[in-house]
Symmetry: C2
Amino acid sequence: MPAQRISSMDEEGLRLAFEEAKKSYSEGGIPIGSVLLRPNASKPNGIEVLGSGHNERIQKSSATLHGEISALEDAGRLKPEVYRNSTIYTTLSPCSMCTGAILLYKIPRVVIGENKNFLGGEDLLRDRGVEVIVIGDKDCQELMARFIEEKPEEWNEDIGGE
Amino acid sequence: MPAQRISSMDEEGLRLAFEEAKKSYSEGGIPIGSVLLRPNASKPNGIEVLGSGHNERIQKSSATLHGEISALEDAGRLKPEVYRNSTIYTTLSPCSMCTGAILLYKIPRVVIGENKNFLGGEDLLRDRGVEVIVIGDKDCQELMARFIEEKPEEWNEDIGGE
């Protein structure tokens, strides 16, 4: 675990993403949460929350509102340069679609809660110069594992099947 | 142009996608449209429209509702096997995010109106075994070029900047 690269913003980002995941779980949804943050000296703790959200497959019958897409959608229309100074936090390794969204907006840094339950496009992100940090967070891991055990079919649908 | 691989479903798919693009343009939006189709003998002309949509950046202040994402969102929750027998049509070469969505759902075939105004993730799609057909459609090309000339800043924002 590359502890030296984890800032207080990263701790806060993962905490907020996990709050979103728990919220989704409490709604009966897939417990994956995400936030988009950037440093901003005029904000409390120097952190600006640009957007936040969670997987909405079950809640909104959505095929595209994964955690990261929800956070980007919540952030709304941003100028390209805003993304370049941001970090996206997600409780679970990003799927192909969310990986592609990160590449589209040239978000330079991705902090991932865990990648044991699902391994997404981390290699592609690294290949394209994105900094990828995997925390290996036990809480993220346990919540996701619990959901997969409880609702394997919904989970399978969310990742487009085996 | 690989004319032999273009079916009547393909002609209809591109026509419907272009209708979506024109609708978006008439609303002041980015003129990119998309539809998800599959063969279905019980439907008129043997074609089932699973979903359709267009870019909604301007209309809905959306950062994620590109044409293809809109079509997939419109299709709603589908079982993994439904995508495996479908084709997605888009008036413009798919960006990283839409490329990733196609890979997520393992859509085996992508028909693209044109890729002169923007070249997206076609190589990645081919690398992953997706059949990619570029029509080189003049109407798609002209409408998109007109929009880029009229609203270059909005277009730049939609593709995350240069």
